[in-house]
């Protein structure tokens, strides 16, 4: 049996004017478990707290009920006070008789009656309280960033600059990501590689950053502060330390000229050798052998690169290597890709080489791209005179198998950028943009778009294109409607550029599953709170950066990357983490192992293990739920989902709530 002390606060006249405090004391004095009851002017004051401490010592109290203001106000105060007297802080309950009683009721008798009932409920609950202890878990002071695009680069740099060690895992042979493929960036039109390359170099040289390129996350275990991650370093077939990046191997690879291996970096607009770096400024400047296409790996013959390499860096025998590293925090910056356009047959993307995606256009306009920056049609290498841009190709599309329901956010701006860049170089080009809405929120964004219209005379027409028909003369017939003028339009174009919807990198699903980080229907990572915790995953210790969380442009990505870095630094700065003791607990004897609780847990805190249990003298191996207290935030969703009542929440247990209900309904 508990020995409970009840303390009723006057709060000056805030409570005492409406609630007969003395009467409350008298009426709760004989409640089960109560050994002491008293009132005082200000319970939260130094003197009031002193009173509590004295009573704890004098009466050997094991539980406290404070009838006062909202627990949101002073629960912490009274818990600290109890702790000072050697009582477990979680043996304190607050009955809210101010905000939820004295302040809203006028009739003193009624308010007093209610205050007594609220006090009774709190007393009934404390009777079932158990001492709880905040757990502690150490923090490994090292962060992992998955993805080496601009989001990952910026996050890593910010964390590293704060003095913590960071590893970047990038599945491609070089960091740089999508941004390295771009020509210019909006709204300032500075060249993408001019602003990105220095950052890539900085990452490579930073003493606190370790790069794992051509590597993938293989397995993740552990929890916030203590993740164990297996990283697969795929065999490059190059001895990393010997290679000087001279590029001799790449120029001499026989497949460079005859191989027909499409360059991933140039979106297939150009071929590459079997030993290659994705692009000239690649970091690290170490090539990789594409074993699927390399003649040596296919037939055992060739070996040209090995023979020619001046530093003898080629190693055909190299194997994949798996390293296991401990991390305190993980940032997901896996970026995006564009959707597959096979389902959009109406735009003839697969039929005509002159229908291209915007990202292909980026390559075509890039001075380091397949055409050396000269805009030309892929069919006849002529410069296009009439160019049509089609917006929202697959974006804002409700048909699930075709496109995506969301707005890809960046297309309006990059299309304006493309149009202006083209008009800048070749002013006699006619450019038409077919749009559904032009969306340009962002600093200097609308002005940017208006410039395309007003200065560059880009023709914007409201209306989605219905069909693109390749013509026998090599041109493209674009069939559309001008909705504002109510006309159908049939126009000829030399080139059609599709603003294909972006989607999260397809690999993110696998990574999210490994991290137990939740993702939405569109495979974007979910944030812990859409407004207040936008760079954190609901799973503690997992942070979000860049397009993996949702469509966004470069400035936004960089800000989010910085924000994620700050959150990581905040976590790594701690030596240990205090864990909320009000967590779910599973009664293994009652658990059915049905996984219902794990299905509703937003934090991935519930796992299932085969455990030996002793039930009525029978030893059995059972699949039962296990709650990771470091991850559980104490929401209790699992407890209501559990049919057998095996899951319970400490501090708000089934019996505690039931007994409160009973006390109120008594």
């Amino acid at each position: 049996m508990q020995k409970i002390g009840v303390f009723v606060c006057h709060c000056g006249t805030n409570i005492a004017a409406t609630v007969d405090v003395k009467k409350v004391v008298e009426l709760v004095r004989y409640e089960p478990g109560v050994v002491f009851a008293d009132d005082y002017m200000y319970m939260c004051s130094e003197a009031g707290q002193e009173k509590i401490i004295e009573a704890i010592k004098e009466y050997g109290l094991t539980g406290l009920v404070i009838c006062s203001c909202s627990p949101r106000m002073h629960e912490k105060t009274f818990r600290a006070c109890a702790e000072k007297a050697g009582l477990n802080p979680y043996m304190v309950e607050v009955a809210n008789i101010r905000e939820q009683c004295s302040w809203i009721h006028k009739d003193k008798e009624e308010a007093t009656k209610k205050a007594v009932i609220l006090a009774r409920a709190a007393i009934a609950k404390v009777n079932l309280n158990a001492p709880l202890k905040e757990g502690e878990s150490p923090v490994t002071k090292r962060a992992l960033v998955i993805g080496g695009g601009i989001a990952g680069i910026q996050t890593a740099l910010d964390i590293a600059d704060a003095g913590y060690e960071v590893d970047i895992v990038e599945k491609e042979p070089s960091i740089g990501g999508r941004m390295s493929q771009f020509d210019k960036t909006f709204p300032t039109l500075d060249c993408a590689s001019c602003i990105l390359t220095p950052k890539m170099v900085e990452v490579n040289q930073h003493p606190n950053i370790t790069l794992y390129t051509y590597s993938e996350v293989e397995k993740v275990s552990g929890y916030v502060g203590n993740f164990d991650v297996d990283i697969r370093k795929k065999a490059r077939s190059i001895i990393f330390d010997k290679c000087t990046g001279c590029g001799e191997c790449m120029t001499k690879c026989p497949l460079g000229k005859i191989g027909n291996i499409p360059s991933e970096f140039d979106r297939g607009l150009k071929n590459r050798p079997a030993i290659y770096m994705p692009f000239a400024q690649a970091v690290p400047a170490v090539p990789v052998i594409d074993r699927e296409n390399c003649t040596y790996f296919k037939t055992g013959k060739c070996g040209v690169c090995s023979k020619l390499c001046p530093s003898k860096a080629i190693d055909y025998e190299q194997q994949d290597e798996i390293v296991t590293v401990k991390y305190g925090a993980i940032v997901v910056a896996t970026g995006f890709d564009i959707i597959n356009l096979d389902k959009f047959g109406e735009y003839a993307y697969n039929e005509s080489p002159d229908v291209i995606t915007s990202i292909e256009l980026e390559r075509l306009m890039n001075a380091a791209g397949p055409t050396g920056g000269h805009l030309e049609r892929m069919s006849d290498h002529k410069q296009p005179k009439d160019i049509v841009f089609i917006q929202c190709v697959g974006s804002r599309c409700d048909s699930e198998e075709k496109g995506k329901p969301y707005c890809s956010k960046v297309c309006c701006m990059y299309t304006a950028k493309h149009a202006m860049l083209i008009k800048d170089h070749w002013p006699d080009t006619n450019i038409t943009v077919f749009y559904i809405d032009v969306r340009t929120p962002g600093k200097n964004f609308d002005e940017f778009y208006r410039r395309a219209v007003e200065q560059y005379h880009v023709n914007y027409i409201k209306g989605q294109v219905g069909k693109v028909k390749p013509q026998p003369d090599g041109s493209l017939l674009v069939q559309a409607a001008d909705l504002l003028d109510g006309k159908q339009i049939n126009m000829k174009a030399d080139m059609v550029v599709l603003a294909a919807a972006i989607e999260p990198n397809p690999g993110v699903r696998k990574i999210a599953t490994m991290l137990t980080a939740s993702i939405d229907n569109n495979n974007f990572l979910t944030e812990a709170h859409a407004k207040l915790r936008p760079v954190e995953s609901p799973t503690a210790g997992i942070f979000l950066s860049g397009m993996a969380q949702g469509p966004k442009d470069i400035p936004e990505t960089v800000s989010q990357a910085g924000a994620a870095a700050v959150k990581v630094i905040g976590l790594l700065a701690k030596d240990s983490l205090k864990t909320n003791p009000c967590t779910a607990q599973c009664d293994t004897l009652l658990c059915n192992g049905c996984s219902t609780c794990a299905n509703v847990c937003p934090y991935g805190a519930i796992t299932y293990d085969d455990v030996q249990v002793m039930d009525h003298g029978l030893r059995e191996t059972r699949r039962v739920a296990q709650v990771n207290n470091a991850l559980c935030q104490g929401c209790g969703a699992c407890t209501s989902a559990c049919p057998s009542g095996a899951m319970d929440l400490q501090g708000f247990s089934n019996r505690q709530i039931t007994t409160e209900v009973d006390a109120i309904c008594r």
Binding site: S70, P71, R72, M73, N96, R98, E99, Q100, C101, W103, I104, H105, K106, D107, E110, A111, K113, K114, I117, L118, A121, S518, T526, A528, H529, A530, K531, P538, C582, V600, P602, Q633, G634, C635, G636, A637, T639, S640, A641, L649, F652, N654, I657, T658, E660, V661, D662, I664, C665, R666
Partner: protein, 148 residues
């Protein structure tokens, strides 16, 4: 107990489950703004509306509550991201079942109430009390075994 001997006015007994982060804070705001609602409402603090097990609700009715209201964060605002979504489904099914068994609709309610909506909290409680009062004492869900 619900019958006041002197004036015979029926006063309902109402149990409100409020989530700690939004609705309980909303109730506090109603208090600090002095927006009154009947003393018939007694609030039980839970971490999240998703914590409210249907058994708590039936228990309250068994014990003689005349109305039960569950308040949580607005959909999309749950402190724990998803708790209120599950609560919404559970309660929709439970309430529909109670209606199916012939229990008056007005005795149960779910209301989303943010920490800033003190006025809404007070208004909701006033409305709910009125409604439950008009339905009278809960006879159908009470359980004699639970009476002292």
């Amino acid at each position: 107990m619900p019958m006041n001997e002197e004036n015979k006015e029926f006063r309902p007994l109402i149990v409100a489950f409020c989530c700690n982060w939004c609705s309980y804070a909303g109730a506090d705001l109603a208090g600090s703004s002095r927006l009154s609602y009947p003393a018939d409402v007694k609030i039980i603090r839970v971490p999240c509306s998703g914590r409210v097990n249907p058994m708590f609700i039936l228990r309250a009715f068994e014990r003689g509550a005349d109305g039960v209201i569950i308040c949580g964060c607005h959909p999309g605002d749950c402190h724990y991201s998803t708790g209120n979504y599950y609560a919404r489904r559970r309660m929709a099914l439970l309430f529909s079942m109670l209606e199916y068994m012939g229990i008056e609709n007005g005795r149960t309610r779910v209301e989303w109430c943010s920490a800033a909506e003190g006025a809404k909290f007070s208004k909701t409680m006033n409305e709910f009390c009125e409604k439950v009062k008009s339905l009278g004492q809960n006879v159908r869900l009470g359980d004699l075994r639970c009476k002292n």
